[in-house]
């Protein structure tokens, strides 16, 4: 395999793997804190049991997240030393802030997981709150670094040399706020729906079991609103992309010709050789409306962008379609579940809803991964949009296929083991064992 492709694949696999554990570290503490608050308020043992069970799952996920995150902090240099040599001074700030957020998270998670009978109940709950907040902050900081790669700011480029650095302006690049918002909501929606699906699965076998009902309700309370808000943050992000990364937008939408009043393409397959996107459902003026809130806005097509600056429109468009489809399904399901929960308080949930929740369980994670495919592959061939090409950042180290294969095998093995352990600890419960 070509070393550039190997390095990109290794980075992709490391990020795809890490983000699963990162979102668990962000969202699981929120679930635990809600459940523990209910226990403190009502004194019902099932909430305590639920909190502890979720905490066990989180402990496993957090450990894997901590080490896979360490891998990334080194891989930035192992694979892209030229990028770090130039970008380190500009975007090191958010990484150091993330370091502290992660520190705080690790310290208080240690207290939370191991301190059940060592700190007073209220202090224990507050430790959970600190974990949840610092987990969210970690994500925001890391995403601002990525945002800078998409919309680089805070420096001057003089004769190809980066000068006049302003790390604060770099942190507050145009993509920072919309990307961070989109990521936070994605994490809460993905984990909320994943957890809801797991407990819905058990409820199908043990209808009305109070333990799993409570778990399902809390998970949906987090995942549902996040899924409903996500289209709004997506709209913000899309406008930002339209303004700053026309090639990415064109690839996302399969837009080859520059067009005024461009349609929104749902589905379809871009054919870069012919310069058309086939089999798409076209909503007239849709893209111009969404991208610029103006039906007559002009959208630049790929044909007006030099070929060597194209991202891969097939993968980017398909990833974008997958993300939007999953997100839409989740938002609709959240609406339906919310409506039913409002009307049928305390009643047994209909089986079709439970089944839909089981089916929707992986959608959030799928949307999240697909969304990152859009962000990262949509930026290619640049590692820093318009400033540095990915291939120019590559390490001179030969034989990069070997670490790629190694890390892939290691992560696959870890993934399987984590699933087995989670099954044992969180999912398989005999309802009668749990006091109500």
């Amino acid at each position: 395999m070509d070393d550039l492709l190997a390095a990109r694949s290794q980075m992709a696999i490391s990020l795809m793997f890490h983000i699963l554990f990162a979102i668990a570290g962000m969202a699981m503490p929120v679930l635990m804190v809600v459940s523990e608050a209910l226990w403190l308020r009502t004194g019902r043992a099932l909430y305590l049991d639920l909190t502890r069970r979720w905490a066990k799952g989180t402990a496993i996920l957090f450990a894997v997240g901590a080490v896979s995150g360490t891998v990334l902090s080194f891989e930035l240099g192992l694979l892209w030393p030229k990028f770090m040599e130039h970008a380190g001074a500009i975007i090191g700030m958010p990484f150091s802030l993330e370091g502290f957020a992660f520190f705080t998270e690790a310290i208080f998670l240690g207290i939370y997981l191991y301190g059940w009978d060592r700190v007073p109940p209220r202090a224990h709950w507050w430790a959970g709150v600190v974990v949840a907040v610092s987990g969210g902050l970690s994500a925001v900081f890391v995403v601002t670094a990525n945002a800078w790669m998409n919309t680089p700011a805070g420096f001057d480029l003089v004769d190809g040399q980066i000068t006049n650095i302003d790390p604060v302006a770099a942190m507050l690049s145009p993509a920072a706020l919309p990307e961070a918002l989109h990521m936070l909501l994605a994490a809460y929606a993905a984990v909320g729906f994943a957890v809801a699906g797991i407990h819905a699965f058990v409820l199908l076998r043990h209808p009305g079991d109070p333990f799993h009902r409570a778990a399902l309700a809390i998970a949906l309370l987090l995942g549902g609103p996040a899924a409903l808000l996500q289209p709004v943050s997506g709209d913000l992000l899309a406008q930002m992309v339209a303004d700053t990364q026309p090639a990415k937008l064109a690839a996302m939408e399969g837009q080859f010709e520059t067009e005024t009043g461009a349609p929104l393409r749902i589905g379809g397959l871009p054919d870069p050789a012919r310069g058309v996107t086939r089999w798409a459902i076209e909503v007239p003026y849709g893209l111009s409306l969404l991208a610029h809130h103006d039906p007559q806005a002009t959208i630049v097509g790929l044909n007006d962008i030099p070929r060597e600056n194209w991202p891969n429109p097939v993968i980017v468009h398909l990833s974008f379609q997958i993300m939007v489809a999953c997100g839409t399904a989740m938002a609709l399901l959240a609406l339906v579940a919310g409506f039913l929960a409002g009307r049928r308080r305390g009643m047994v949930l209909p089986r079709w809803l439970l089944r839909s929740l089981v089916l929707a369980s992986p959608l959030g994670v799928l949307a999240l991964e697909a969304g990152w495919f859009v962000t990262e592959l949509g930026r290619q061939p640049w590692i820093i949009q318009g400033v540095m090409r990915t291939r120019d950042a590559l390490t001179p180290m030969p034989g990069l296929t070997l670490p790629l294969v190694t890390i892939t095998l290691v992560y696959m093995a870890l993934g399987v083991i984590v699933i087995v352990l989670l099954r044992r600890h969180v999912i398989s419960t005999v309802p009668s064992e749990v006091p109500v």
């Binding site: 080490v67 240099g77 030393p81 380190g88 150091s96 301190g115 790390p167 180290m397």
Partner: protein
């Protein structure tokens, strides 16, 4: 030299120091897990697991902090190290992943099953390999075998695979094992276990002294410049004298069964070793040609970085104090 640059470099050394005396000892715990022997082998392992459990992830962040300050404050140095030392860094990462994952899986695996035993072995072996590689990487940076550009493919191996880096790796490994044994001597609550770890602490402490001599001997053969760097100023001699005094004091405290004093002595000893190495490197970040000043990021970056670190420390110190107060003593089994 610019005070900002020096401060940023001091932060990296401080982070490495804190990583060594906290995270390093967690690796050392893994080493003693591997060498758990005798009638109390299982209880030794339990004590180690209890001691590491709540804190290893927080301890581990010191390494991440050192790396982040390195790539923010000294980007060319980070790029050079990660380029030339790709292979040992990647292997060390595998060790970090295996150690952390296996420890967590063992804690949450089926109790006392065969799988749990296998995770224990993965945890222990990776605890042995990771510090060895970390030491080899630092040894290579000190030895001046990490060039700015890879002139040939061979440099990806020859830069770190040699007698000197290997001796530093062994030294780091024994240092971490020694620290862990001293800590566990303090944390053990019953007499027999405490004696087990006290003997291990004494043994590894003496071995550490022997290895120190061996590392210096190897340096004399392979990289004599290091000996010059280590003895350049009268200050260096004072530092080495203090290190030796701390080492002897620690051994004496262990001998007289003053475990808490031994812990203070061991932390002091290890810290002095790390600072001694750091001062011998000064003013270089990578020997022999990358000076701190040449690798440093622009002043604005360093200012913001140090400001963020100062703010972070204000948050971090009380958090750590709280953590260690909560888990200061290991729970009775």
């Amino acid at each position: 030299m610019d005070a900002l640059v020096v401060t940023a470099a001091l932060v990296i050394v401080a982070a490495l120091n804190l990583y060594a005396v906290s995270g390093g000892a967690d690796y050392g715990g893994g080493v003693w897990d591997l060498f758990a022997r005798g009638p109390r082998a299982e209880r030794q392992r339990e004590l180690i697991a209890h001691a590491i459990g709540p804190i290893w992830e927080a301890n581990h962040v010191w390494l991440i902090l050192a790396i982040v300050v390195l790539f923010t404050g000294f980007p060319p140095a980070y790029a050079r190290i990660t380029t030339i030392l790709h292979v040992p860094l990647f292997l060390m990462l595998l060790g970090i992943v295996a150690r952390g994952a296996a420890f967590s899986f063992r804690s949450y695996g089926s109790p006392r099953g065969e799988t749990q035993r296998s995770w224990g072995r993965v945890f222990a072996v990776s605890s042995l390999v990771t510090p060895l590689l970390l030491g080899m990487i630092l040894g290579a940076i000190a030895a001046g075998t990490v060039p700015a550009e890879p002139r040939s493919t061979a440099v990806f191996l020859t830069s770190w695979w040699g007698l000197f880096p290997l001796s530093v790796g062994l030294y780091a490994l024994v240092m971490f094992a020694f620290l862990a044994a001293v800590y566990l001597t303090v944390e053990a609550e019953d007499e027999d276990l405490r004696e087990d770890f006290r003997r291990r602490a004494l043994g590894s402490g003496i071995l550490l002294g022997v290895l120190a001599a061996a590392v210096l001997a190897v340096a004399g053969l392979r990289v004599p410049e290091i000996l010059d760097d280590l003895t350049r100023t009268p200050w260096s001699w004072g530092l080495h004298a203090l290190t030796a005094a701390a080492a002897l004091g620690t051994l004496f405290a262990l001998w007289r069964r003053h475990a808490p004093w031994a812990r203070i002595g061991a932390v002091l000893q290890v810290s002095l070793i790390i600072w001694g190495w750091a001062f011998s490197q000064y003013p270089h970040l990578i020997k022999p040609d990358l000076a701190l000043a040449d690798a440093a990021a622009p002043p604005i970056t360093l200012k913001l970085l140090l400001g963020a670190l100062a703010a972070g420390v204000v948050l971090l110190v009380p958090s750590f104090v709280y953590l260690f107060r909560v888990f200061g003593k290991v729970r009775k089994p």
